[in-house]
């Protein structure tokens, strides 16, 4: 086994993992903390990619900056989706499976709408740093991967700070444990969940921009990430943001090594196999509660 090949596979994996962390952050909040199985999350990420693509292609603004500007729009979208979800499923009782079917349908509607509007061609954006790369000895960091990974980890740190330091963040952690206790303290659990779900949806804007910086995007690109994000979320331990980050980096490295030494067509089987194994052996994940 060539040593520098392995080193570079690990570096590529860490950067890929940084990107996966951004993709999973929202799931970690909605699924891990709120018990809302938003299986449509990857679909909204692709929507984020297309928004970054449209603005970037027309006005030449960097996709990541577009995403930051689009954050409020995605936050509002999250508020809307949660409103429907709450009225139709949560309020009526514990029928999580119908909620699941709802999000599955939403995923398809998002995807097919994108197909009808944009067709099934690959879309790419041009960034100032697309071609460049940073070299340190035998290590190579393509900026196309490095920039999204770094911004993603910054976003992750901000989320973790928000969740652990602010009042609302702590209330979100509390709502996942015991919504009734929260109600006794005169805090509306529905409001807290709505805010948290909206935040989780807002992360789609950024994750979508990262996605289109890293690779060309199709309307159906989201599918590749459905299993992967849940694998990372479950592996990391539900609702634990640090656990999610570790799991994302781990999956990134494992996939990157599988790609380098066995070919890219085997990479998905690795992460999904790991998900099945985690679910079968240790459903509480690495840093599970």
């Amino acid at each position: 086994m060539q040593f520098d090949l392995l080193i570079n596979a690990i570096i590529a994996g860490l950067m890929l993992g940084g990107f996966y962390a951004a993709v999973t952050a929202g799931i970690s909040i909605s699924f891990g903390m709120l018990d809302i199985v938003n299986i449509a999350h990857p679909g909204f990420i692709v929507l984020g990619s297309y928004i970054a693509y449209i603005v970037s292609a027309n006005f030449g603004i960097d996709p990541i900056i577009v995403a930051i500007l689009a954050l409020p729009a995605f936050y509002a979208l999250g508020t809307g989706v949660y409103g429907i979800y709450f009225q139709s499923f949560e309020k009526r009782g514990q029928d999580a499976l119908r909620g699941l079917a709802f999000f599955f349908g939403l995923l398809f509607v998002t995807e097919v709408t994108l197909i009808l509007v944009f067709g099934v061609d690959y879309r790419t954006v041009d960034t100032a740093y697309a071609g460049g790369s940073l070299k340190l000895g035998i290590m190579e960091f393509p900026l196309r991967m490095l920039v999204p990974a770094l911004v993603s980890i910054a976003m992750f740190a901000a989320l973790q700070l928000y969740m652990s330091r602010t009042f609302i963040g702590r209330a979100v952690m509390a709502v996942s444990q015991d919504p009734q206790a929260l109600e006794l303290m005169a805090i509306d659990p529905t409001r807290i969940k709505r805010i948290a779900f909206s935040i989780s949806m807002a992360t789609c804007a950024l994750a979508g921009a990262f996605l289109i910086v890293i690779q060309p995007v199709l309307p159906s690109s989201g599918r590749e990430y459905i299993g992967r994000v849940f694998a990372i979320c479950v592996l990391g331990g539900l609702g634990s943001l640090p656990g999610t980050l570790i799991a994302a980096l781990l999956i990134g490295v494992i996939e990157s090594i599988a790609t380098t030494f066995y070919g890219p067509s085997w990479a998905p089987a690795v992460s999904f196999g790991l998900l099945l194994l985690t679910l079968a052996v240790r459903p509480s994940g690495l840093l599970g509660r």
């Binding site: 499976l97 079917a101 398809f108 299993g227 998905p268 079968a280």
Partner: protein, 320 residues
């Protein structure tokens, strides 16, 4: 109504349908009809695990594809010996393979309930797809060609033969679904759906029942998939593992109603006929959009599906 009588009625309806199609004599009708019938089997198969037991399977396309690829596998072996297995035999083999997969999935997800089970099935789908994509004997990502015979003795056109086989499978699966629903097995399934812990505590063998459900459901998917390569003539992973199967498998029972055997059949007949019409008149992308919207609409507005709507309508009329 007892099962033999029910079966007799179902067989006569099927026979009448086949004869009517023969009288019209348009081959396109058989092509479209095959797809509709295939979806009746798929919706019924999904419902045995999802509707009766409450275990949502997102990986339907994987079970379907196991049936598809077992046929491709035996077709390729047959090519080397210049002997082809008849399609009914291939359907039984496909059913066995997918049933075995169902058993494996049941064991693998022993400790998983609800949402975790659903995600695990989605993961299983991708793992199987990755293996097929990397397995060159069955064509890998390039796909495989199946040359269907053009004529069949007695029946004439080959598509009529396929249609007839699928019609028989529809009868079989509806009889199976109805029998399960009315037997002690169905009652056991319902206890799992309502409260698995309580069922376990009161002595229901939940694990064995769950395994029976995954096997029966998987086997029906596999049998529905086995004739598919002969239907389209060229199979590649993208068409066999199409997520549309997974969405339809969920949407059709949910739209029809998941509590009885009628629901999936009604949902499948309506939705897939609608899809056939939309595919021809508008586009195949639009038909998926409508499927998604209908699924969302029904889970929000009519949680018990069309059958539930019908029941509440007739119940209201009796009272007044």
């Amino acid at each position: 109504m007892h099962t033999p009588k029910f079966t007799l009625i179902l067989v006569s309806v099927a026979a009448a349908l086949f004869i009517a199609f023969r009288m019209i004599g348009n081959d396109y009708l058989f092509f479209a009809g095959y797809t509709v019938l295939q979806y009746v089997v798929i919706a019924t198969a999904w419902n045995i695990l999802g509707g009766y037991c409450g275990y949502v399977n997102f990986g339907s396309a994987g079970f379907f594809a196991v049936g598809v690829y077992s046929t491709v596998f035996f077709y390729n072996i047959g090519q080397q010996f210049d002997f082809q297995l008849p399609i009914p035999v291939l359907m039984v083999i496909g059913g066995l393979m997918a049933g075995l997969l169902g058993l494996g999935m049941g064991y693998l997800t022993l400790r998983l309930r609800g949402v975790f089970f659903a995600i695990a099935t989605l993961a299983l789908l991708v793992v199987i797809e990755t293996f097929v994509v990397n397995w060159s004997f069955v064509g890998g990502s390039r796909g495989a060609y199946i040359i269907p015979p053009s004529e069949i003795p007695i029946l004439g056109a080959f598509i009529q033969y396929l249609f007839l086989l699928m019609l028989i499978l529809v009868v079989l699966s509806l009889v199976a679904a109805r029998t399960i629903e009315r037997s002690s097995l169905g009652v056991g399934f319902a206890t799992i759906r309502d409260d698995e812990l309580a069922a376990e505590a009161s002595g229901v063998p939940t694990l064995r029942l769950k395994l029976i459900a995954t096997v029966v459901s998987g086997a029906l998917f596999g049998m529905a998939g086995a004739p598919f390569p002969y239907y389209i003539g060229y199979v590649e992973p993208g068409s066999a593992f199409n997520l549309a199967y997974s969405v339809n498998a969920i949407a059709m029972p949910m739209i029809g109603g998941t509590m009885t055997w009628v629901g999936p059949m009604v949902g499948a007949l309506l939705l897939s006929t609608l899809q056939q019409v939309i595919t021809v008149t508008i586009s195949s992308a639009a038909n998926l959009l409508i499927t998604g919207l209908l699924l969302i609409g029904f889970v929000i507005l009519a949680p018990k599906g069309l059958v539930g709507l019908w029941q509440s309508l007739t119940a209201g009329r009796k009272q007044t």
